[in-house]
């Protein structure tokens, strides 16, 4: 701890920042400059990871008081607009909300990319891919849907849908691709994981909505089914079927999701050192998965997992603080 403060003071000292917030001693010791910062942790382990990394840096290096809320992905936009939450560090492109709160009301502002890139797709266990190499592409599934039959799906194959709160279009995709799957919702992510991981352990066939980065990808050997690629011809292809309409407009793979940081307008205008740090805050997929696995897989206390990462990656942390 003392070492961290010293390091930070040194780093700042060299840089001679011209901010009126005063000397580096002052910033390092905390004081009134930072005050309270409210971060929202989203419901998945990756978000817990980046939120607690940020918390460790804000508290230990800038002396902020950090409060963590856990509001669901969409209501949190309203919470930011009301100034109850200062920042969301991992937002998966909620385009509709961007229109409403960022472009429209202007109560929320973009905070730039987190550096983590999200990817959504259809996944199957690796052993299943080895037995049926044709599943590499969605066309290989045609006529083979029976393999995925469960009591729940009747005479169709079962497609296990994602958490209802996540970005998705699988019902429409199944229809547009003419596959004989029944879209079964398992509900919240842990329930969905329980379903497919049990089938995985029984070495049974299963196909489901999944994504990266996700720490469970280190635990289970999964393979991805290639959906119709994005080309110039289907540029307008959409990823979120929330607005409904013709299934054909969703007939393509999910785009790579640039994950964004979002700030409340109030926080962005506050000139808080916390805002400067969070603007520069950046992680790689590996950083995030490593900490997420420590928290959700090895049950390390999030607080400690965040601090551990900060200690090991001081160079990255320094870059955010300058």
């Amino acid at each position: 701890m003392a070492l961290l403060v010293a390091l930070f003071a040194a780093a700042c000292g060299e840089d001679k920042d011209d901010q009126s917030s005063g000397s580096s001693e002052n910033a390092a010791a905390g004081g009134k400059d930072c005050g309270k910062v409210v971060l929202n942790e989203q419901a998945w382990a990756g978000s817990t990871a980046n939120t607690y990394i940020a918390k460790a840096v804000l508290e230990d290096n800038l002396g902020c008081e950090v409060e963590i809320t856990k509001i669901a992905e969409i209501p949190v936009f309203q919470a930011m607009a009301d100034g109850k939450v200062d920042a969301v560090l991992e937002d998966w492109q909620h385009v509709d909300e961007y229109k409403k709160y960022i472009d429209g009301a202007g109560t929320v502002v973009q905070g730039g990319p987190l550096g983590v890139e999200g990817h959504i797709g259809w996944f199957i266990p690796k052993y299943l891919m080895d037995e049926n190499p044709e599943f590499k592409s969605w066309e290989g599934l045609k006529g083979k849907e029976d393999l995925f039959k469960t009591p729940e799906s009747g005479d169709q194959g079962m497609f296990l849908g994602g958490d209802p709160s996540y970005v998705q279009k699988d019902k429409e995709l199944i229809e547009a691709l003419g596959l004989n799957f029944k879209h079964v919702t398992a509900g919240a992510e842990p329930a969905q994981v329980a379903r497919w991981s049990q089938l995985y352990k029984q070495k049974k066939p299963v196909i489901f909505y999944w994504y990266t980065p996700q720490y469970l990808n280190q635990e289970y050997d999964l393979a991805e089914v290639q959906l119709p690629p994005r080309t110039d011809a289907n540029q307008d292809c959409k990823d979120d079927s929330k607005s409904g309409g013709d299934p054909e407009q969703y007939k393509c793979e999910y785009d790579v999701t640039v994950i964004n940081k979002l700030f409340s307008k109030k926080f962005a205008d506050s000139k808080s050192p916390a805002y400067d740090m969070l603007s520069k805050f950046e992680l790689t997929n590996e950083d995030q998965e490593q900490v997420a696995k420590a928290i959700a897989g090895d049950k390390v206390d999030p607080e400690k997992a965040g601090q551990d990462w900060v200690e090991e990656n001081q160079d990255k942390v320094d870059a955010w603080l300058n």
Partner: protein, 640 residues
């Protein structure tokens, strides 16, 4: 009998009528969700406008009040320090509720500390206290009015019914829109559920004051206000305290739901633990049960001990009591200041430090490890228990749920509509039948007929299972006091344990998405069914039983031919209450894959599909009222 005939006709209709008779598009109000979305946007603009109009100013004022109350109570509990809080709770209960209740209170506080959930428990306690205080502030005046005016009572009863029938999950959306997220929203959700029992029991208490006492007061020239404050309220004191007790219990059952919309504390740990750490969610659930048991015992003990109709104190006794009260408060203050002076933390610490070593102060990690081991066992698809539960889940799905869902969803809509209305007419009479018809039509018009029928199939299957087991166990408990004694703590636990907690193991044990929700709703509804059946069978007049024995009937014959038929009304009430309770939980099942209306609400809440979410909420309300009327029977409607 007639019901069987109607069901048979419905089956015939399903089998014979060919072609697609799903709810016609021409009878659907398709713009409804879009209109509701517009309404949401408008509401948000109004609420966040720089100078809100009167209505929104009042809402905002209430929100600020609730927020302030929760914060103030939390700060107070933290200021007391953990030592002071334990002392205050225990000594107060000791003074007013007796040593048994005080001991339970003390153990409860100790368990929060040892479980490593002190701060969360205090947040929940503060949130609950705020909700209960505000509920009573509204509930008791309304209850007094309802107790004094029959007309007011009649007007308010349907509103109270609706408040209790709608599953809390359904009104989360509107509350978030009107009050944003945070403690205030959580308090308001809790109040919607906790105000009705406060009103009802207060009204019951006021009406229970004998006419003689009121007459006597009038005869001595008391004004109406004097009669109320000097006679009716003091004499109804026991009921008032009972209403406090019930309000607390109802409020606690919503703590977890409140966690979904930014209420802090144990509920938050449960809902978020579901994602990141299921063992922690279960541990927090256990803490909620402990809190419920302690609060229940403490408040009912206080209600017993301070009942003025039972205690006639002499002047000396009164003086003695006053001295004791003073001593209690002095003791609390002394402890608090001593604790603060000695530097006790505001929350119970994770570890104690002495000059040489650091002791771990909680068994938090051990508990989590044990729970995790148990969860790992149930997650293992090769385990013995999974070999039983998985086929059982599949059996319920393939042989009960799916056929019933097909019957309700695929039948021509007019067959289902007509059939349910006819059953309502046969069982409950004309007015309930008309209500049923209207409610079902509303569901169709809102465009969610198939989803509502899917949900209805889950509700009916769960209710059937709950009623079947409920009757068997209930009759057994009525026959054997020992069984009843053994059951009591178990039933108490089932009623207070948050549903999400016992859904967790079943997600693993019965990996069929609709089944965990059904099991959870059966577990939630069965205590009430068992209690009603037990009371009903006990209530059979002894003369009838004597007569049957005199005619040489065996014990089984007496049960089957006399007791159960005579307890029919109670059993019917059990079915009716069972359905309502099941509906509340099946909807929560949307979070673990029950699909249908619950899924629509979950999506509406989490993805801001406001219109659809509200439509689903309204459909659940309509379905709840319809199913209530179908099974209400011809009992006296004024009965609570």
């Amino acid at each position: 009998m007639q019901v069987g005939g109607i069901v048979l006709l419905m089956l015939l209709g399903y089998l014979l009528v060919d072609g697609d008779y799903s709810w016609p598009v021409s009878l659907t109000w398709q713009e409804l969700p879009a209109k509701l979305d517009d309404a949401q946007t408008w509401l948000l603009e109004q609420r966040t406008a720089p100078d809100p109009n009167f209505f929104f100013a009042i809402l905002d004022g209430f929100r600020a009040l609730a927020d302030w109350l929760v914060t103030a109570l939390t700060d107070m509990l933290l200021w007391l320090t953990w030592v002071g809080t334990i002392a205050a709770g225990t000594l107060l209960v000791l003074r007013f509720g007796g040593w048994r209740a005080a001991l339970i209170t003390f153990l409860a506080f100790v368990s929060f500390a040892v479980m490593g959930l002190w701060e969360e428990s205090m947040q929940t306690l503060a949130l609950m206290s705020a909700a209960v205080l505000l509920s009573l502030a509204i509930g008791i005046p309304f209850g007094v009015l309802a107790g004094r005016s029959q007309r007011f009572h009649r007007t308010i009863t349907p509103v109270l019914d609706a408040m209790q029938i709608v599953p809390a999950f359904a009104y989360l959306m509107p509350v978030v829109i009107l009050f944003s997220v945070g403690p205030a929203a959580a308090v308001i959700c809790t109040m919607i559920y906790a105000v009705p029992p406060a009103v009802r029991i207060t009204a019951l208490g006021i009406r229970g004051v004998t006419a003689d006492s009121v007459e006597a007061a009038r005869a001595f020239g008391s004004t109406a206000a004097q009669t109320l404050f000097k006679v009716q309220l003091p004499l109804a004191r026991r009921q008032l305290l009972l209403s406090v007790n019930q309000t607390i219990m109802f409020a606690l059952s919503l703590v977890v739901i409140a966690g979904l919309i930014g209420g802090r504390g144990l509920g938050d740990v449960v809902t978020n633990g579901l994602y990141s750490n299921a063992a922690l969610a279960i541990l927090a659930g256990i803490a909620i049960v402990i809190m419920a048991i302690a609060l229940d015992r403490a408040t009912s003990a206080i209600a017993e001990r301070t009942d003025p109709t039972r205690r006639h104190l002499t002047d000396r006794g009164k003086r003695h009591a006053r001295v004791l009260t003073l001593a209690t408060f002095a003791g609390i203050l002394a402890t608090v200041f001593a604790a603060r002076a000695l530097g006790a933390d505001s929350v119970y610490p994770d570890e104690f430090e002495t000059s040489t070593t650091v002791y771990t102060a909680t068994i938090h990690d051990d508990l989590l490890r044990w729970i995790q081991d148990a969860l790992d066992y149930v997650q293992d698809p090769t385990s013995f228990i999974f070999g039983i539960t998985e086929p059982l889940g599949n059996f319920i799905l393939e042989n009960l749920l799916e056929p019933l869902r097909k019957l309700l969803v695929d039948s021509p809509w007019f067959v289902v509509l007509g059939g349910l209305t006819a059953i309502a007419f046969v069982l409950s009479g004309l007015r309930p039948a008309i209500t049923t018809l209207l409610m079902l039509t509303a569901i169709g018009v809102m465009g969610v007929w198939p989803e509502a029928m899917d949900t209805a199939s889950q509700v009916l299957v769960a209710t059937a299972i709950a009623v079947l087991f409920g009757i068997v166990i209930g009759v057994w408990a009525a026959e054997s006091p020992r069984v009843e004694r053994l059951l009591r703590p178990l039933l108490d636990t089932l009623q207070t344990l948050p549903q999400l907690v016992y859904i967790i193991p079943f997600i693993y044990l019965m990996p069929v998405s609709r089944i965990p929700g059904i099991v959870a709703s059966v577990l939630y509804a069965i205590p009430v069914v068992i209690r009603l059946v037990t009371n009903g069978v006990r209530g059979v007049p002894p003369a009838a039983v004597e007569a049957a024995y005199a005619f040489g009937a065996s014990r089984m014959q007496v049960l089957a031919k006399v007791k159960v038929p005579l307890a029919r009304e109670s059993i019917m009430l059990g079915v009716n209450q069972g359905i309502i309770l099941v509906l509340a939980v099946v909807v929560i099942g949307g979070l673990v894959g029950s699909g249908a209306l619950g899924d629509m609400i979950a999506r509406g809440l989490q993805r801001n599909e406001f219109g659809e979410g509200v439509v689903a909420s309204l459909a659940i309300l309509a379905l709840g009222i319809a199913l209530d009327r179908v099974t209400r029977g011809r009992r006296d409607p004024s009965r609570a």
